[in-house]
Every structure is written in C-alpha cells, then in structure tokens.
Symmetry: C2
Subunit: 334 residues, 2 copies
DNA sequence: AGCGCACAATATATCGATAAAAAGTAGGAC
DNA sequence: GTCCTACTTTTTATCGATATATTGTGCGCT
C-alpha cells in the first residue's frame, strides 16, 4: 500500500504539501505541484479514504437502506443514484430484509458514522421504535408509515392514488371491486391507506365498501397474491374489478385470472400501484398508479442535501403526488 | 460523539481494557468487565467503525458492484446478501450504470480499501481494461464476458442455456426462430454466446440459422425490444418462434406480439433467459432459462470467502449450469 | 541596507481505535 | 520472608490522513 508519505518522499516535499496538492486546499507553487503529481502518477498513489474519513469526518457517501434490493426499491434506487452523484457524493445500498431489528441496526450510531447521510425506507419499524432514533446525522425516511415529527419523511399520496384507480374502474363499469392485499390495520400503513382510498372511491360512487372485498395477501409477493386470488375465485364471491395494493400483487392476480379463464379487462378490470417498468409491457398493459419515483427521489435527496449542508430547521413531511396511468387492464385504456 | 476514552474514564479503567472487553481479545476480570459494560450502557457507546478500520485494516464489509440496481441484479443481490451475512459480514451494493469508466473507478484502490472483498458484475469492461486490474484485494467477477485468467470469475452456461430454449421450441414445432437481442460480436459476450446457442440448436435440427433472424435490440430494455419486434413484424419476415436474450427483452417481445394480434404460443412460441420472478406470473407464463441465482451466488461468495480467508492459489473460472423452465409461452408447457 | 509583507512549505497535534510490549498484582512454593 | 509465575491491566506506538500553527523565503518599499 503506497501512502501519502511515500509520495512525499519521492517528490522531496512534506506530506502536507502532497495533501494540499491533491485537495487543492492551500495553494502550491506550480513546479512543486508538478513534481508531486508526477510522483503520484509514478507510484499510482490513491488516497486512503478511511484515514481521510477518520480525520476529516466526512465520507462523501450516502446510504440508501432498503428492505430488499428488488422491484420497487431497485427502481427507486436507480433514480436516487444520479441525484446523489450530481452533488459529488457516492451512493451505496444496504438491505434490511424488512426486519425491524436490522432496520434499527442500520440506524445504530456505529453504522451511521460511515455515511454523511442516510435514506431509509421504513418497512419494519413502527412509530415507537423510530421515536427512539436520535441522531445528528442527516436522515430522510421514505415509505408509507407514520413516522415521528422530528424526522424528515417523504411518502406517496396513497389514499388519493388508490382512490383514483378505484374510481377509474367504477367509471368504466366495475361495481364490485376487490381490494387485494389491502388491510384494516389501525396504524397508517401502505395497505391501510390504500384500502381507505378504495373505500372512499366506492362510497363516493354510492357503492358498498364491503369488508369481505378486502382480501389480505400473505407476503405481498406475486405468488401470495395469486393464491389469494384463486381462493376468492373458488369461493364464488362475485367481483368485476381488482384494485391491487402493488403491481407485484396485481401481477399475481393477473396470473390467477388468466388461469381461471377470466378475461382482463372484459370480465374483470385490474389496476395496481407503483407503475413498475414491467407493468407497461405485460399484456394487456397494467393500469397502475405511478409511484412517482422521480418526485420521491428528488424530494428525499433535496431534504437530505439540505441537512447535509447544515440546515437545522424543523423536519419536513412531504407527500409526493401520484397520477394514474391507464392501460389495457382497464376499459378505455390503450 | 462518545468515545472509548469516555467509557474508560467512566469505568475507571484504561482504554485498552474497554477494547478488550468489547472485542473479547484479552481476558478481563469479571468485576472490571461488568463495570465497563455498565459504562458502555450508560453512555450509549458504540464503536467508531472508521477508526477500527484504519487500525485493524478490516471492515467486515463486502461490496457488490452492479451496473444497475434493477431486475436481474436486484434479484441476484438478494441471493448474495444472506450468504455474506452468514459469515458475519455486511453487504453493500454499488452501482456503475454499466459505464466502463465508473466500473474502473469502482475498482480503484481507493474504493477497494473500503471493503474486505468485492463482487463485480462486469458489464462495461473489456478484457484489456480488466487486465489492468491488479490488486491484492479479494475480487470475484460475475457476468458473461471474457475476463483475464488471474481473476476469479463466475458465469452462466449461456451457450447451453440458449440451446436448450431454442431446441425446446423447435421440438414443439417452431421452424423459424428469431434470436432477439442477440449479436455477432467477436468477443465473448452474453449476446454472442446466446446467439451461438441458438445457432447451434438450429443447425442440430437441420434448420438454417439465417443471420436475418438475429435481431439486435437497442439497449436491452423492454421498450427497445418491443420496437425491434414491431419492426420485424411490419417487415413481413416470417417467424414462428422468438428466443429473447433476456426476460426483459422477452417481455418487450410479448407486448409487441400481443398488440399485433399474434397469439403466444399458438402462432409464436416465446422463450427468454434469466427466469426473473415476474416471468412465472406473466400470462401465459414465460418459458425461460433459469439464471441459477442460487448457484451463481453460492459459487461467487464461496470464491470470495476463500480469498478473504487467505487462500492464494490460482483463480478459478466457474460456469454455473442452467436449466430450462417450461411455461405457457411455449407449447406443451403449463 | 533594513523592515515588513505575502506567500510557500513544514512541523505538530489529532481523529478513535487496536497490537504488542511493559508493568503491576496476587498467590503459592521453598 | 523472598522469589517466581500466572494473570490483569496499562503504556506506548501506530494505522494514514488533515487542520492549525509555525517557520522559511523572496520581494518591494523607504
């Protein structure tokens, strides 16, 4: 490992001069600078980031902590990365597997030190656990749960998105719409808020929002959704529309519907939430509420950047707007 | 920031005693140990990982460098993570956006220091660039390109996978199969190897492997594939099967076929490569060559682990076997 | 010639931990 | 009572950089 001291010796200067050349902190005479740069090239020197970090207290690195590297989070992360890099910092992803303990660990002082800032997709932590998080480190939370006031937070307009999707299907003729993967939990959660939107849309149209039409999905995978959907079909419960809590769930539903000979959108309309890349291409095209990755990423990185620049004002809670993207899985779409 | 020195003062011992208690290196008397632990609790002390790293030269962290956080890589990363964690280490993802310069930067000494080992998905780098990578740091390359002998490498059996898929479609009646997203580049690349497999299968069955049936796709997105597919259809080139170089490409093709009124698998059979999660659920189910994430992850982590344990033998080049998963997009599937 | 000033380069202290060597403390054997 | 050994604990040096203070150098001005 070649150190700054080796470069200094080779160039016949002090370590600080090398540091000053590389960081352009204090001015260095041109001939000296050239000698240093030549030595750097010759030896192939590269700064030891760990040492710099220890001394300077800065890593120029931001962590995005996600429950899994899959799907929604992968897509969101791809949006976040360029924004972080545009500010001269570096982005790394960490995974918690939606495990509360691991999420807390990710927020532990020890790990936070490694980064100048942290974006955390809250999946497993509840309000009480998050309330215990006290740190000076810039943090922005992402995700569809309630969070303490003192932490910055970006979430989606879940309720309004679900309402849009449901209302759209009602307008196009559906009268009995399943809320697949939704729930009645008390806490503000993604599945609860989206159910509320479904309910709202039903009521608004003068339709019953029968709790029997709220169908839970075991683990929010396509497989779980497919199985739940098959059970509903087998049960004989009449329905002519499905609002799926996510596109992943919608895909499972689509699979079950196809296998059961139910035609989309003729017999059953289908809408999802997130507008994953694939949803555009899966025939007949899945109508979906766009999760506004761009807006979410921009808002989150903006809040984070502000904190990293020293801002200490009160935390903000941003609700990113969403819009409905109509495709072939609902009538009147492309 | 509470340091080890603060804990030491509170417990009335030296810094080294605290270190010894926390790391269980040298034995410490029980009463002393208890006092130290009490102080740690009381002050909420957590070790400074940066300082430890600088001194101990170990981060207990492995980086997985991928071209993008999406799809294939996200799924693979989710497989890799538990294997790394099982060895008491931590995994982080970094992104290069398939940019050769950024990939080289990810391999720069400076960034390598931050990790005990690196898994690198080679997308943009060619043989010559990789040849310049000289480092003592444990590295394992992943991906479907040629790499220098001195670097450990895990790749898929691309040629045989493509052959399996193509042969399967031929067996089920296809006679004119497109190789969508494949190419004739000289270097061993994913698109070339898979084309070779397609060619091989055609020849084996006594069919012509007409270069006109090798259709490039601009950027290997579903959108690009869809457009390429629509052009082929518009051109009037007769075909009754599509081997898509990836499932993402297959999805684009499926979209184009559906919009053109061509039925899968009745008019056209379709097979992809990667067996993404979604492929199982997209009606009618996309027949795909399973990318064997588990095997790839296991082999790669195994090679990395071996290096991190001090093994210095010659590099290995593993070709992970693949298998065909037959679904509804080819005849005779589910 | 003498003085001061601007600028370049160096010396010193420090970030927070760990490895290795040294020192302190008992207890047991003779 | 002395000495040795075994076990705890502390001391010292170090990882590789950066921030601050200090020293050194050349030049203009009177």
């Amino acid at each position: 490992m070649v150190r700054m001291a080796d470069v200094a010796r080779a160039a016949g200067v002090s370590v600080m001069t090398v540091s000053n050349v590389l960081n352009e902190r204090l001015p260095v005479n041109e001939p000296t600078r050239a000698r240093v740069m030549a030595a750097v090239e010759a030896l192939g020197y590269e700064v030891n980031l760990t040492a710099r970090h220890l001394r300077a207290g800065r890593t120029d690195t931001v962590a995005f902590v996600v429950p899994s590297f899959h799907d929604y989070f992968g897509e969101l992360a791809d949006q976040v990365a360029p924004l972080i890099e545009a500010e001269g910092r570096h982005l790394v992803l960490e995974r918690t597997s939606a495990d509360a303990e691991q999420e807390m660990e990710a927020l532990s002082v020890a790990r936070l030190q490694m980064y100048d800032g942290v974006l955390l997709s809250v999946a497993g932590l509840d309000l009480e656990q998050l309330g215990r998080v006290r740190t000076a480190k810039p943090i922005v939370l992402l995700g569809e749960r309630d969070v303490p006031d003192h932490l910055n937070h970006v979430r989606l307009a879940n309720e309004s998105g679900a309402r849009l999707a449901t209302a759209h299907m009602i307008e196009r003729g559906s009268r009995r719409i399943l809320a697949l993967g939704c729930s009645f939990d008390a806490a503000h959660m993604m599945t609860t808020d989206r159910r509320a939107g479904w309910e709202h849309a039903c009521r608004e149209a003068g339709l019953a929002a029968d709790p029997a039409y709220v169908v839970p999905v075991s683990d929010y995978t396509s497989l779980g959704a497919r199985e739940a959907m098959l059970e509903v079909i087998a049960s004989g419960l009449p329905f002519d529309g499905v609002f799926a809590v996510t596109d992943i769930v919608a895909l499972g539903a689509l699979s079950a519907l196809a296998d059961s000979g139910l035609r989309v959108p003729v017999d059953v309309q289908l809408a999802g939430f997130d507008n994953l890349d694939m949803s555009r291409f899966i025939p007949p095209g899945i109508t979906s509420v766009d999760a506004n990755h761009e807006g979410v990423a921009e808002a989150a990185v903006g809040l984070l950047h502000r904190q990293m620049s020293g801002w200490t004002g009160p935390a903000e809670h941003v609700v990113a707007p969403v819009r409905l993207v109509v495709r072939g899985s609902t009538r009147g779409g492309a």
